[in-house]
């Protein structure tokens, strides 16, 4: 997977940039492959969803290398105003989750801070012609002029991809939604905000069940919030949620209707030698993801990625440092708000590797088997179409070698918060502010 002697490496497959001049609305806020990997959905701060589709590699189009091209674009959420609280509700798409495909159409859930929507994306490549009551322009025909009846015929047309909202799940969250997760039963899904987790049925929009509620009776006693939640990939009764205190709770919906009491509690004892002023903030978990096997889960906190065995609650089985050199910079990162950045993480299809983002458009990949890790950069300058990505190195002290970059030269405005890995192949999608990069691992 990582550049070795056999000229293997990650090559740029597709680069998409949102508009020419980056504006706040063009910042990509979520990236997600569908179950087959043929579609890649992205959401941005402006409430838009852009779906990319993989081109079929075929003999008739030898130049196509299986690139991803824009398939559909639609406005999922609009800014709203809550008049009661005098607050604007941002249209930023926080998460997109695909539903497993059941027919020709594709379905996905997209959510902003308050409302979840189920979108149907369908193709139309035929059009009916020869209507009786209207002519080809669409104008109504004068009924007295109709002397004969004809049967409309379906004729091929240019492919049109339509997105239509099929369900709107609203008014169930007082706090800001941070996660949605589709259940393995394909009928239900959960949505989590800072203090509560709700269970929905995909068909029912006017009701949801509250399954976790950690709101204290007295808000002054609030000490932690929910930061992420996910259903187990195979066991439809099991889900996990992470907290701002760095703990993960696994809950079984069979045990009780309200899962305030966890079945398992995952927490690593704090290392007292590394305790610092900002320890509490950096221990907050920003993302939790089950492995495809369902045996492990991965959590991301500010400086590291941890892999947990579901059978062992006392500590993670693996800890990977993402950018430990930032530990001494926490005060500056607090000043520029970077310490609050919420990085995501993802598994590859076989669970042998994990990936997460960092600053300066760097992203990190860890091979769990070989214990090797690599830092790569997603930027236009470094991504020539046929050249493979060169590993990058951050110089943490002493003399800076050639090609190394010093910590102080890192651009903290260029952060990679969202990454996704194709479910089966070695294709990764990396969102760098308003740019999307899709890389493929290929042998030269």
């Amino acid at each position: 997977m990582f550049s070795g002697p056999r000229q293997r490496g990650l090559r740029l497959l597709t680069h998409a940039e949102w508009c020419g001049v980056p504006s706040e609305a063009d910042i990509i806020s979520t990236v997600e492959f569908n179950y087959s990997g043929d579609l890649l959905a992205t959401g941005d701060k402006g409430g838009r969803v852009v779906i990319f589709q993989r081109e079929q590699e075929s003999k008739s189009r030898p130049h196509s290398r299986g690139e991803y091209n824009v398939y559909s674009t639609f406005q999922s959420h609009e800014p709203e105003f809550d008049y009661l609280k005098s607050l604007e509700i941002e249209e930023k798409i926080n998460k997109i989750r695909w539903l497993p495909q059941q027919n020709a159409a594709h379905f996905l859930l997209s959510t902003n801070d308050k409302t979840i929507k189920l979108w149907k994306i369908s193709e139309r490549d035929k059009r009916a012609e020869g209507y009786n009551l209207k002519d080809e322009d669409g104008r109504l025909r004068d009924p007295f002029r109709i002397t004969a009846l004809r049967v409309p015929i379906l004729k091929p047309m240019d492919l049109m991809v339509e997105a239509s909202p099929r369900r709107i799940f609203a008014n169930a969250h007082t706090y800001h939604i941070n996660s949605i997760s589709v259940n393995s039963d394909h009928e239900t899904y959960l949505s989590a905000d800072d203090l509560r987790i709700n269970l929905w049925h995909l068909e029912i929009t006017d009701r949801s069940f509250n399954i976790v509620d950690i709101k204290p009776a007295n808000m002054e006693e609030l000490t932690e919030v929910i930061t992420a939640a996910e259903f187990h990939p195979h066991q439809c009764n099991v889900f996990v949620y992470s907290s701002s205190k760095g703990t993960i709770r696994l809950c079984d919906m069979r045990s009780s209707a309200l899962c305030d009491r966890h079945s398992k509690f995952f927490e690593e004892p704090e290392d007292p030698s590394s305790r610092s002023f900002f320890s509490e903030i950096i221990s907050s978990i920003s993302d939790v993801k089950f492995s495809h096997s369902g045996r492990y889960m991965m959590t991301r906190d500010y400086l590291s990625v941890k892999v947990w065995d579901l059978n062992m609650e006392s500590r993670p089985v693996e800890t990977h440092q993402v950018h430990e050199y930032l530990r001494s910079k926490l005060c500056s990162l607090y000043e520029n708000d970077c310490i609050f950045d919420k990085f995501e993480c993802c598994w590859n299809g076989s669970d042998s590797a994990i990936m997460t983002g960092s600053y300066n458009n760097f992203f990190r990949m860890f091979d769990r088997n070989t214990r090797r890790d690599v830092t790569l950069e997603a930027s236009r300058e470094n991504s020539k179409p046929r050249a493979s990505l060169k590993p990058r190195k951050v110089c943490t002290g002493g003399k800076r070698k050639k090609d190394e970059i010093s910590v102080d030269s890192l651009d903290f405005n260029k952060k990679i918060l969202h990454t996704a890995w194709h479910p089966m192949e070695n294709i990764i999608a990396v969102a760098a502010t308003n740019n999307l990069y899709i890389f493929q691992d290929k042998i030269n």
Binding site: K85, I89, E90, M219, F278, E280
Partner: protein, 228 residues
């Protein structure tokens, strides 16, 4: 003292961030508010323990204090001992160029000292409850008036209807004017460094070595979170 200044700077910064986060689109975010209040609390503890240390160094044998001989010597011994390992650490994990040393030195100092202040802070808390009752910076100690206000607000907050059924009532608007007032008061307290009102250490403080319950800035900040 540098640690004190740094802690104060972080407190001020946190309060500013807290206030500023109200202006952003989407309103106050609960997680962010919580994180800011955590940093505020840590900074405050650091500030107070640094202040206590400074005062102890200035007036080593003040009769008005209630000196605890058990605490005093061990604390003085602990502080240098605890500080040595972090300071002795090679600075190679600090990948800074020398020209930026000055900028980074104070946060680093704060963090290094924060590590060893974990000890004196714990010990210092015990001292604090006794020393503060003797007229240390009163801006940090809640006055009776503030406590009465808090009590009223606490009652308002807890009377919220369970918001599974209803959106929270608009009394949240009432929290913000109070926040501004308390921020003003606590700022002047931090800056004046002189006792302005007879302090009253609430008895609950002695019971727990935890910096809760009556902390006007912190509790109002957390209450501002109830604005949802």
């Amino acid at each position: 003292m540098e640690v004190q200044k740094e802690a104060q700077r972080i407190m001020t910064l946190s309060v500013w961030k807290m206030y500023h986060s109200r202006m952003q689109r989407g309103g106050l975010r609960l997680h962010r508010s919580l994180q800011l209040s955590l940093v505020m609390r840590s900074a405050r503890e650091l500030y107070l323990s640094a202040k206590v240390e400074a005062l102890d160094l200035e007036t080593p044998s003040t009769p008005t204090r209630c000196p605890d001989p058990r605490l005093h010597p061990p604390r003085e011994a602990e502080v240098p001992a605890a500080c040595v390992p972090p300071d002795g650490e090679p600075l190679s994990p600090e990948p800074m160029d020398t020209q930026e040393d000055e900028e980074e030195a104070s946060p680093r100092a704060a963090e290094t000292l924060a590590r060893c202040s974990a000890h004196p802070a714990r010990v210092g808390r015990k001292r604090r409850s006794s020393s503060l009752s003797n007229g240390v910076d009163a801006g940090l100690v809640p006055s009776k008036k503030a406590r009465l206000e808090e009590k009223e607000e606490a009652e308002d907050a807890s009377s919220e209807v369970p918001d599974r059924l209803l959106p929270p009532p608009a009394q949240a608007e009432g929290a913000f004017p109070n926040l501004a007032r308390v921020l003003q008061r606590s700022f002047s307290g931090l800056l004046n460094r002189g006792p302005t009102a007879p302090p009253t250490a609430p008895p609950a403080r002695d019971a727990k070595p935890v910096c809760r319950p009556a902390d006007p800035v912190l509790s109002v900040l957390v209450r501002a979170v109830v604005a949802f």
